[in-house]
Subunit: 297 residues, 3 copies
């Protein structure tokens, strides 16, 4: 019985890891990505003033991971643009999100239940991209473990890693921060995922690739959906990371931040701001929201 | 009779589209490009303080389109630099424009009638570059229409698209604007030209390539010469674009700008400035000049 | 006797130019490079806050020249990362310099006599890199003299040429200066070295490559060790360059700077500061130190 179960699970994982991403999952990916672009302050004005710049940003949001991975591997950066149907689909999504009359499409996809489904589907694509990136790099460099991790990382993080330059396209320049200095959850998870997939590719991890894809997708989808539902910018890795960084790199234990979340002492939170000037407005308002909700409790 | 005419025109177009660009037309291209570099505020000081930086900027102005196109197609970015004679010619032009005793060479080529001829010749090269870029991309990606447009666009716009990074080389950083956000006439025309040449390459445009090159060159040369003669930064596409953007992208109709040109109402023009903070000093003084001339009329 | 001497010298040069760089010399290169990274203001905080960003910066410091050269020749920028042992060695050095208990490793390698030996060894690697870069470009472009110079230059200068972007990774942005505008001694020497090696590769210089490597290494090592020992940021080329630039490019003769060094007239030195706003704090304090020592004399 057990054996059968395992066999079935393996088969399901196999089937899942072979499932075509285009067009349904890719569509969800494009919608969520361009939704995040519309959230960026100033992006709506740019879409009015310069549709070309807005379209380019949208393309970077949708295909940034392919562009970066191609740059990293020395290939043609716009190679992915020969997939005309993908570009046209992403263009249609961009048009609907930014210019649909009455903002109808935006309101539909930004409606939380719909958005949660789309976010989960986006994570399915992300996991597949990381696996494909690592596999591609493994094909080019058989023992280039670092190259495999970097390619997988870049494939998973996408536009976040080149956010500074994407913002520059919209006339925004924030040099004091970048995604490497202040990694968000998806970027961190992509890094860890890329390491896992590299270990699997090197046969140091005793699981099949399809199982790993399945498990990683499950983890990413559930975590990201939970975070999105709770409007949280936290990370499930925070506690472990805090300790590991403290032991390995002598980083200060982030007790201040934990206190800030659980007991909300305003005097302690105040000096934290100059230490992390890179905190975005979004994150800060997030903190305020949390503190208020704690007080309400 | 008609047939003969057509035949002759076709032959002329054929001959024109096969005409060698090096050295005469390329020389004009280098002269006009490096002239524009010298117009940039601060570029003369840079040429005194750091000739290497000035030379690099001059090379970017002359060969930026090749560099960008090579980057886009994943080739060696400095591939064009193996044409030693082209580089030496451009270097000679750079030296003469920046360091010629009594500024003699600069005064000659900046003399309006001479400059108009050179500008017209530069547009001949530009049209050929766009056609070559689209053709090159078509060779690499048979159905990559987007790649063909992007390559042609980049080949036609050249350094303008990387102006931010070219300025950075001279120690200037203006992140609040870029060529995509505020397209100048040559950049816009390159984009439209790239689309036309791509349509031709895809056989969706019922003209031969040589005829298209001929017509596009004629349009570019006459328009650019007219704009240069009138010291104008306007664009013949403005009216159509304004309506198309209004219909497709909900952009506000640029009546304010038209009013600003024709009736010059200072109170209406005033609030336009914070809306377009990216307007260069040159454009602003241009506007002032226009208003004054209108008043004089 | 003379012939024997020459033979022996030639053999020594031959042996020297074939000597393996890994691991001893490369180790010295990594140590000195990451030492310079630690000298950068803010880099220690970055190493505490974001070890990933710090590690990436360290890799850029160690392998920036390979990355840039690969970019220039259109190859995979992270190609060098398939040398796992090199990356692991550099990572170990980075870890020891930034996180060693009691800062022990840093104190050892920053101890002047040790540092001077390491600096000399680093210059051995630099000379070899320039020669390899020129040779590699020569292999790809037989008559591409400019490409050979650029590749050699980039191989010798390494991270300095992309300092702006390396700083951006650490959240620092100083657009008003860059290594091309204000070349330091190693960057300048790399440029001249690249020109020499290109001339040699073109058989316009009547010396064998091994002899040239030997002589260039000797020059670089002695000069850099002297400069490091004297904590000087000067350049042995200053006088010749000043005259050549004056004759060729009309640059003002740097008498003001010489006066500033020898007679220290405060009123003359004062207006020089706004002219060179790019002067680093280090250089300025250097100037102050020099003036003080002159006064003491």
């Amino acid at each position: 019985m057990e054996v059968l179960d395992v066999l079935n699970l393996g088969e399901i994982a196999q089937y899942f890891s072979k499932m075509a991403m285009f067009p349904v999952f890719d569509l969800a990916y494009y919608i969520v990505s361009i939704l995040y672009l519309k959230y960026e302050p100033g992006s709506v004005e740019v879409s009015r003033r310069s549709p070309v710049a807005s379209w380019l940003c949208a393309m970077l949001y949708c295909f940034g991971s392919y562009i970066l991975a191609d740059i990293m591997l020395g290939a043609c950066p716009i190679d992915y643009f020969h997939n005309n149907s993908h570009i046209l689909l992403a263009t249609a999504v961009w048009y609907l999100i930014f210019y649909c009359p009455l903002n109808l499409f935006y309101k539909c996809v930004a409606f939380l239940p719909v958005k949660l489904v789309l976010v989960a589907m986006k994570e399915v694509v992300r996991a597949r991209k990381i696996a494909a990136g690592v596999h591609h790099a493994h094909h080019a460099y058989h023992h280039g473990w670092f190259i495999m991790v970097i390619t997988g990382y870049v494939k998973g993080s996408g536009v976040a890693l080149m956010a500074n330059f994407e913002q520059l396209l919209r006339g925004v320049w924030k040099p004091e921060t970048n995604e490497i200095l202040n990694m968000s959850f998806p970027t961190k998870a992509s890094l860890y995922g890329a390491i896992l997939f590299t270990l699997q590719e090197a046969h140091w991890l005793p699981v099949s690739k399809s199982t790993l894809i399945c498990l990683f997708t499950l983890f990413m989808a559930t975590t990201k959906v939970t975070l999105t539902a709770r409007h949280s910018h936290g990370s499930p890795f925070a506690l472990i990371e805090s300790w590991v960084c403290h032991l390995l790199f002598g980083s200060p234990l982030s007790v201040a931040e934990d206190a800030h979340d659980h007991h909300a002492p305003p005097p302690a939170a105040a000096p934290a701001v100059p230490l992390f000037p890179a905190k975005t407005k979004e994150e800060l308002s997030e903190g305020t929201r949390k503190r208020k909700s704690k007080k309400a409790e």
